[in-house]
Symmetry: C2
Subunit: 513 residues, 2 copies
């Protein structure tokens, strides 16, 4: 056991994982060597890539016991691909697979059966939700899951740490030779940013579509040089679960209060100035921040350089109104964003490596100024948990949390002080996902706390007359409301590890008793 | 010595090159292993990449004796970058470099001095023109040059056969963090298709621009994850030498006659039908073919799927008129094309690997139906020379010739039977660049010959009442006009090798006596 850079006890070796490099600090890992690459091939000209079924694709790729396959999560909770492919693979009797999707949702509950029957023995993902997360926390999987951020997954694939044998990628529009995009069709999802990494690095790529269009499908987000087979199916997903028409603004008074506090902090920070860059999520208070910030931009005649991340109609509005110079998009959160991506060259599709891999010549999070993030728990060292609920069960996703926090000049956590009668600010978070060193400000409905590492921000807030609390003061207020939370009982068995974006281990997740 | 697949004597070992794999047949090489990749790095966030001079860039990259550097040729004969960078390197006393540009033009004559003083000891390129080609043919370079097709160069870089230590890439528009495109600015060239390969695979990338724009420069053809340094200079090239406003149609009667014959062959071939794909060059007769073909398309109500290659205003017209579904563009031949590329999502920028590398999952030439190519010489086995003049001197470029001929269903050579009193059809070409097996038809101003391997075409032409000659008949006509050409005297010393697109050696070039 070693105590890592956020004070967690990390074993030097974990059964089913191997040697462990403990997390030190946000930029301590300096990678060696060169990027990995996909398999070299020699297809004859005018080859037909269109095949009849997922089963045929599995057979043609030569998928074997012990291999690694991957999926993307652009279809979110409407995804049919993962379950369809795993059913086909199970039927063919292939076992002991590692699956490495960009994330997994509640719709992927059927994977529990494929774990039980030995088809899946390893999972690496950004997120795992109920009921699968619960089953894993209870010890169903023979090997610990590996949880990575979006940038961390791109790094792992691009560096060769994760070698994908076959990627099975659902696409909303595709031609018969493997050019595809996410802009059109009944299953339109917009950006294919996570899938683009798999398409570039997997040894074999199978595209699965319900919308086969005439060659060439342009613009091509995934292209024919990366794709071996194309399969047409009736439905790749449920459009209602893929994206909504437009993410709606909140009218929850607690969210609005947090957003108002956040905008005060942004304006007082010194980073709200001409050419600032900005990322936010699609949760209620985050969206509200974008709306309030837009008013401030117009009021103070300030224009931003770029918006980043999961893109919503609110960010598209900033672009269309000339309040932002450009948008970088790994994932669209609504159809307004998807449509804009397909037609506006300043709304630019990027893969997850471009977005957030810290081991190339400079990803987008490196240029972030102002960032809004969520949290399940924050501790008094500003460490953040975004993966396990307060009862210890895996239920959420690391997402881009670690990546963006590491890059941004001003990383702000937006959270209610109390959620479902649990305090959000605690002594020690259940699982550390994002190190406190990279979090600058916590904004709650009860007040704002600044990381003491950022004396400059404390000074700026004081100058602006913005009242702040220490993180311990906020914790005390929370505990007065809820009482001290019960300690969760864990077994010794490790059921998951949380990698930091650089490949080191920032925390382990143990079996819930 | 081994006789290779086109009957040329190839040594098994060449001093300065190493072991030689002789060319066998167009698709005989099946590659093993995986693609190469750029160096992994860990830049800190908010790093400044903008530096003051090319000299500083050379120093910062740590360029050392014996390394490999690269350039692109999108600025054609207007390029200032190669000479500026080589001057800076020479001044710093660095020696024994391999340069691996995508091509070299007459403007690069000053490299002769850098060869003389030992700065450059190896050259790998698609083309080498006078006066450098002449100097190399006379033996100035200590090691043989390696000549590759555009697809072959992409293959060599992508497979790791050519490892670029530092790429110095001129760009018409660029922000201070390394996002760049070719659409705007005084040096606009359109597509950056050749440079995109270098940007992806070089260990270090320096962008040089005369048009620094505010961040982010979108859309980004080359992007910040690939770029280490950005240098602003006064001029990257002479706009007059970069691209013309619009390539003009020919009114040379010989070109028009060849074009008319070519269109007859295309229409009779059976490949001129709904959804056909098409590539042509920017030479007089090629352009004229596009014009005549457009008329046929309108007349017969036939629409094509895609146009490929160096894109001209003539192909943009087909796209704009709905006669083509899309254009794939590695290189723009005029400003009309450059402008269209910047605004029309169906006019799609592709890198040279996407265009023509035969060792990925399926490049664009694999989907080509109808192809027009030029030639310096064609022999009675249909082998084509596009690199050395009939006096034996290196003076032209392999370009996409080998790649497109290998992929296309109908590869047509357009050539006058006699050029500058030299016969174009000969017994044996001076240098084999493209194997005859991949050439289907030769169209001259005196008539058409079909490769006997293509009995199906011979039949189709007969059915259509199109008169054809044997290649020997055309050769005889040519020799009647010019007399038998003199045999060129060569020294034993090998000054260059011509790789086939798969990395094997299709011919060697010897020192001219």
């Amino acid at each position: 056991m070693t105590k890592n850079g956020v004070g967690r006890e990390i074993p030097s070796y974990i059964e089913g994982i191997g040697q462990i490099k403990p997390y030190e600090s946000p930029f301590s890992v300096i990678p060696e060597g060169n990027k990995a690459g996909a398999k070299l091939k020699r297809p004859l000209p005018h080859k037909n890539k269109l095949i009849d079924s997922i089963e045929e694709a599995v057979i043609k790729t030569g998928l074997k016991d012990g291999m690694t396959i991957s999926f993307h999560h652009h279809f979110r909770n409407g995804d049919y691909i993962v379950n369809m492919v795993m059913d086909a693979i199970a039927k063919l009797g292939i076992k002991d697979l590692r699956i490495a999707p960009s994330s997994l949702g509640t719709c992927h509950g059927p994977l529990i059966d494929h774990i039980k029957n030995g088809v899946i023995t390893r999972i690496e993902s950004s997120g795992i939700r109920e009921p699968l997360g619960t089953a894993i926390s209870e010890g169903i999987l023979p090997n610990p899951v590996v949880l990575r951020s979006h940038g961390g997954r791109a790094r792992a694939i691009e560096s060769g740490e994760v070698k994908i044998d076959v990627a099975f990628l659902g696409v909303p529009a595709c031609d018969d030779y493997g050019n595809a995009n996410g802009f059109s069709g009944r299953s339109a999802c917009g950006s294919l940013g996570y899938a683009m990494v798999d398409a570039k690095y997997a040894d074999q790529v199978v595209l699965i579509t319900d919308n086969l269009v005439s060659y060439p499908c342009l613009p091509a987000s995934i292209n024919q040089t990366q794709v071996d087979y194309v399969v047409k199916v009736d439905e790749v997903g449920d459009p209602k679960g893929i994206v909504s028409g437009a993410v709606r603004n909140t009218n929850n008074p607690k969210d609005l209060l947090i957003a108002e506090n956040a905008v005060k902090a942004i304006v007082a920070s010194g980073y709200f100035k001409e050419g600032f860059s900005y990322q936010t999520g699609a949760a209620g208070s985050s969206l509200a921040v974008t709306g309030f910030l837009r008013e401030k931009m117009i009021e103070q005649n300030i224009k931003g350089s770029f918006g980043l991340g999961g893109i919503t109609s609110q960010l598209v509005q900033l672009l269309d109104e000339g309040l932002m110079e450009g948008l970088f998009d790994t994932q669209c959160f609504d159809l307004v964003a998807a449509e804009s991506l397909g037609k506006n060259p300043k709304h630019f599709e990027v893969d997850a490596g471009f977005y957030a891999n810290g081991h190339n010549s400079g990803c987008l999070v490196n240029n972030l100024d102002i960032l809004m993030l969520g949290a399940l728990e924050i501790d008094t060292d500003f460490n953040v948990n975004v993966i396990s609920k307060s009862d210890g069960y895996i239920s959420q996703a690391v997402g881009g949390h670690q990546d963006t926090a590491a890059g941004a000049k001003l990383a702000v956590i937006l959270a209610p002080l109390v959620r479902s009668r649990n305090p959000i600010i605690v002594d020690k978070v259940t699982t550390v996902c994002t190190p406190g060193e990279t979090i600058d400000v916590v904004v709650t409905d009860y007040g704002i706390a600044v990381n003491p590492l950022r004396q400059d921000l404390i000074d700026n807030f004081k100058t602006a007359g913005l009242k702040t609390y220490t993180i311990n003061e906020l914790k005390d207020i929370a505990e007065k409301l809820t009482g001290k939370p019960d300690k969760i009982e864990f077994d010794e068995k490790i059921v998951g590890i949380v990698q930091y974006r650089d490949g080191s281990v920032i925390d382990v997740i143990r079996k819930v008793k």
